[in-house]
Amino acid sequence: MKPLRLSRNNRNRLTALGFLAPNLLGFLVFTLIPIVIGIGMSFFRWDGANDPVFIGLKNFARMFTDTKFANSLRVTLTYTLLTVPITIVLSLFIASLLTTKIRATSAFRSVFFFPYIASIVAVAIVWQFLYHAELGPINQFLHALGIANPPRWTSSKDTALLAVAIMNVWRAVGYYMVLFIAGLVGIPASLYEAGAIDGANAWQKFRHITLPMLSPTTFFVVIISIINSFQAFTPIYIMTGGGPGIATQVLVFRIYEESFVLSNFGYASAMAMALFLIVLVFTVFQFRTQEKNVAYMQ
């Protein structure tokens, strides 16, 4: 019998398959195939029990006339505008303070970071109590300051989204702070020394050295924070349940409700595709601007 001989390519294929197999199998069944099914499902009407019915682009057409969908887009966008800019500015500010020559920086870093890894459910519940319109410490404090009619936070449709947004800024600021600290520490000291010799003042150094050198980090933080803000589900589910009315029904909440509460899996999939498209547009747009604006280290 001839010994089995494999070309180098085939031998590598076989070895690689051995290493890949466990993950690849799970990846195919629980990630890649679901993505393909998800795209396909958006062209069907399906209640999860009866056979799916192909309806072409009707799910997508429905989105254009669905006021609840339009509302969810508006709420999502507002939520992003309420959280992302302030979170980025605050986290960059704290990161620059924590890279100065002060003591206990690592203790401060841990304090700022911890809310990010604490149970979201627990944290959302505690904030819900803090926000309590009559009894909550926040409004009792505002009363004590002489404010007669403080905002009713999560129980009013005008302030519910703001209340969730404030909680989320508090929760996420430490995460982006850690990313900014890593970026700041990587900027070579020689640049600031050169700037000092040229007589640049503090603002000029920040504007012309720190910001350009930090732009890869900033770019990453902006993308991640926008994408995260588009996916905020748990705090809204716990604190407001999408309400009052539909005031805090962000897109991902709408998708959850449409699928697992109302069993309209086809329409929910179509909305998920819309979410995917939005995330993709932001990513591509950010990559484009990055190519133009980002100064690279080398």
Binding site: N23, T31, S96, T100, R109, S119, T234, A272, F276
Partner: protein
């Protein structure tokens, strides 16, 4: 390197020591804001309901009321929740480390012809929001007859493409000469993976383990979709159901919140460095 940022801030803030004092005051004030919800939660968890909303806040309760904890332990069967959550966390983290390091090794160290294209498939899926796969995963799990089973969550989360990506990036930085020397010494691929690459990758594996376990511990949406009966619930589901059902039991809910956060706090205090370096590492390379 660190000096750069330090000199930056010195330039922004000026060399006077007065600014240092201001800096400390600001940072301490901000820290108190960050800690306020946790301190209030802890203090309230030992109070009877009528004292919780007293103003000004009585930070140290006149009488400690640990019975809130006893009540939580019994009403939401905290022991069972703790067991379920720990089981999921350990299983998913262990499986992720195993499958992600194996796959990461193939992508980083084996030059098979389809390496690039298969890896691109993995990368592309990182951009897809969970909501896109949520419904098809649900139908597949139902098809497999795994509804209301912990295995639904384990299977969905054990093969993280992000974990593969993270491991590959780390393995790429390990010089190929090390593998080649080991090969000359007679080690096969599995031996190189197990005896050379894995021991050198402890920091990356620790980061992956920490993130996965914290994510699984705190995850709410996946258990919400798959686990219907209270016997299967995780801590997060139990806590949320207690919050929804026992709306007037403020002290009990606060005690439940403390119990949900405590394990993560303990691990965080022990491994702070890994948490923060791990985030920075995955962040910069991502």
């Amino acid at each position: 390197m660190v000096g750069s940022a330090k000199s930056l801030a010195r330039n922004i803030l000026g060399p006077r020591s007065g600014t240092h004092l201001l800096l400390y005051l600001f940072l301490i004030g901000a820290s108190l804001v960050m800690l306020f919800p946790f301190m209030w939660m802890l203090s309230s968890s030992f109070k009877p309901d009528k004292e919780i909303f007293e103003f000004p806040i009585q930070w140290i309760p006149q009488n400690l009321h640990p019975e809130n904890y006893v009540r939580v332990w019994n009403t939401i069967h905290y022991g069972r929740l703790l067991f379920n959550t720990s089981f999921l966390t350990v299983m998913i983290t262990a499986l992720q480390i195993l499958t992600c390091t194996l796959a990461g090794y193939a992508f980083a160290k084996i030059p098979f012809p389809e390496n690039r294209i298969v890896f691109l498939c993995y990368l592309a899926t990182l951009m897809v929001p969970f909501q896109v796969v949520m419904i098809p995963q649900f139908t597949i799990i139902r098809l497999l007859g795994l509804m209301n089973s912990h295995w639904a969550i384990i299977l969905i989360q054990a093969f993280s493409p992000f974990g593969v990506f993270m491991m590959r990036q780390f393995f790429l930085n390990i010089p190929i000469e090390l593998s080649e020397a080991a090969r000359i010494d007679g080690l096969n691929e599995l031996g190189i993976y197990a005896r050379i690459i894995l021991p050198l990758s402890k920091p990356a594996i620790a980061s992956l383990a920490i993130f996965t376990s914290v994510f699984v511990w705190n995850d709410f949406l996946t258990p919400l979709i798959y686990l219907n009966t209270a016997a299967k619930w995780t801590i997060q589901l139990g806590l949320r159901s207690m919050f929804a059902e026992y709306t007037a039991d403020y002290g009990g809910v606060m005690a439940g919140a403390v119990l949900a956060i405590l394990p993560v706090l303990v691990v965080f205090l022990l491994l702070q460095r890994f948490f923060i370096e791990g985030i920075a590492m995955s962040g910069i390379k991502g």
